[in-house]
Symmetry: C2
Subunit: 414 residues, 2 copies
């Protein structure tokens, strides 16, 4: 079955805001074997909305509308769906009572406008919204003699998503033909996308029944495999077989075959080895620490670290000799190593990491370009240093450096 | 004039990837007084593309298509536009020569498929692409007796955006009626969106000629004012007048009236006062340091800091007495204060900040819920501590805490 998602709201036609609910809902629809063939973003104008709804009903079986169910004059989704289908709206007495009760409990006078939220399209089922005032609506109707399923959902993610899961998923599951979808997500670090595709395309193109998607972002490559079959076992078998061949091909570029993040994998290996980690960051300014501590339970293996942004702090906090900085420059392999040793010594961590580089846009010298990064990793067996030059703006260079540091830690642990 | 943006590519109909070019292009279009009334995302299927193009030409004057210009069989935008307009494609000899020359310079044999990129829609102008192989195309045609402007742009942001700026902007500027757009962006910290709107709605609704947009994200509120007039001065005057009234109303909630980020403003005030800053972070795990160091030139005022995630490091690195942690718990006002004093003492910074909290999901105790955060800020005049309880998941609690810490530093400095 084909579906279209329409996100309603003029703010999503500005340079400042983007629909994100549709990514969530697409994942849920795909899991039922329902593909999304169009997404449309439309503003708060009834004429435009009616046009978008009619266009959608002409090309898909399932239409998910998000937004435009609030109490203001700009909230027009109910009216537009009714107009597009030539149906009437009726004001639901129990909804009116619920709105009054809620206003009373908040000790506020209910603005007249709020009653709009009690308007129900003829034939629609109201979908209770546990997280807001506007209920959703569900229509299962014939349109030009085809069956169409239409959901009206509130726009705020905290209302839209749970309401979709609770009310729409079960209805869609019983409407869609039974399909079994197997999904695997492999993750690889620091391999160029073109190189990965060159290695993998000859393999995955022979699996026509598995949809393979490669997505790359600053040194992180996500490979998603999706297979839909009438029975679950054969879908899973195909996906697992292809995943196995990809793992063989990319070898230790692959850091996860279950979709984990690189920071999760680093923490997993640390815990497995009962090792602890501490980091002294200069150019990444806390980015590596921030990624590690974004994982719940990071404190079991990640002790902490330092952001030694000034040269003085590299010396006073991390114990890098001032002469070394004067001789070699702050961005140098010896200083990266001294940072790693310094943080390891001062924290008692099994592994110490030092990162120093030039994130730009200024700071380059004749021999040291913007993007130059030195990373050192020290453990009881000794120290390794790596020099890399990354391209891009300040933010990208910092992200590449953080990714490279995490991957070095992973490779040291495996 | 009205425009529609169509993003072409099946990957943008998966849960994994989203169109972002359209935000960039919307900003550029708006600056010419051209509004975006629809955005459509469509996959790599010619039938769907033709349908989307025809629908768009029925409702807007300007159509911007992005993606589907590459060399593979999935790249169908040229073919679809030609079909939708009943125009032919011809293979451009000079483009073919250019593709061969490029392949030769790379010492590769050119795959036959690549020649698709030399196909030009009858009547289209080729738009040179300095950053890739596929040129863009521009059509200025009559469709159902209306003038329509159509741009075909490559999908990769690094090609799409410069090509749009170099080739489409000048053409659109001469086609659109002259308009002058004034824009101001105000930023406020830690004010609830509903409270801001309650205060501001009575004001901005009286400026019907200024489009006011409020966007809130974890304690950061962006207020954008856009006014379009035939002459530049009166547009600017209206925007400035409204900006002035908003600043008066929100007072010191406002941290920037020129769209700067909170970290930029903190660094600006530090530099103005020739003060330096150092931070000891526990629950935010480097997030505050990472935000500050994302600003170029941060090193002039931000010395660095510590990520003292384990209790032991709070003592050994930041000098928090172990007994204090044992008595008060690591998440407590006295420990936040000791962190701030410790980092200040060890780095010699003018201002020291300590942050400790429970980001969750575990770690709560009977008296200390998930979301509880203590922040302390110390300078030569003394220390302040603040206790807040934030709601949301781990990531949101960390983001709220980082935003609160930066806002406290700002307020201490102004």
């Amino acid at each position: 079955m084909k579906s279209e998602i329409i996100a309603v709201g003029s703010e999503m036609l500005t340079p400042f805001r983007q629909d994100t609910n549709s990514l969530y809902i697409t994942e849920r629809l795909n899991a039922l074997g329902i593909i999304v063939t169009f997404k449309t973003i439309v503003g708060d104008r009834q004429k435009d909305l009616v046009s978008a709804i009619r266009t959608a009903l002409g090309r898909v079986d399932i239409l998910i509308l998000m937004g435009g169910l609030g109490p203001t004059e700009d909230d027009l989704t109910r009216e537009a769906v009714a107009e597009a289908l030539s149906l009437t709206l009726r004001r639901d007495a129990s909804q009116v009572a619920a709105l009054h009760a809620r206003a009373a409990s908040w000790r506020i006078t209910m603005p007249q406008n709020n009653l709009k939220q009690a308007d129900v399209i003829a034939g629609a089922t109201l979908l209770p919204n546990a997280n807001g005032t506007a209920p959703g609506q569900w229509l299962d109707i014939a349109f030009s003699s085809y069956r169409k399923l239409i959901a009206l959902l509130p726009g705020p993610p905290s209302e839209c998503r749970p309401l979709f899961d609770a009310e729409c998923l079960p209805r869609l599951r019983s409407a869609a033909p039974p399909r079994h979808i197997a999904v695997r997500t492999l993750k690889a670090a620091m391999i160029p996308e073109s190189q990965a595709d060159k290695l993998l395309a000859p393999i995955y193109t022979t699996y026509a029944d598995v949809e393979t998607t490669l997505l790359a972002h600053t040194g992180d490559l996500q490979i998603t495999l999706i297979c839909s079959k009438p029975d679950a076992d054969s879908a899973q078998q195909r996906v697992d077989e292809l995943a196995g061949r990809i793992e063989e091909t990319l070898e230790d570029w692959i850091y996860s075959s279950e979709g984990d993040s690189l920071e999760q994998i680093v923490l997993y290996h640390l815990e497995l080895r009962q090792a602890t980690l501490a980091i002294a960051e200069s150019c990444t300014g806390g980015l590596v620490a921030q990624r590690l501590t974004s994982v719940a339970g990071a404190s079991r293996s990640f002790l902490g670290g330092m952001v030694v942004y000034s040269d003085a702090l590299k010396t006073t906090l991390a114990g890098v000799p001032a002469e070394l900085i004067a001789e070699q420059g702050a961005v140098s392999a010896p200083v990266a190593k001294a940072l790693a040793q310094g943080i390891r010594g001062r924290t008692g961590a099994t592994i110490g990491v030092g990162i120093t580089g030039i994130a730009g846009p200024s700071g380059a010298t004749e021999n040291k370009p913007v993007g130059l990064v030195h990373i050192a990793i020290c453990d009881p067996q000794g120290c390794d240093t790596v020099e890399r030059t990354f391209r891009g703006d300040r933010q990208r260079i910092r992200e590449w450096a953080a990714q490279q540091a995490l991957d070095l830690i992973r490779r040291r642990l495996i």
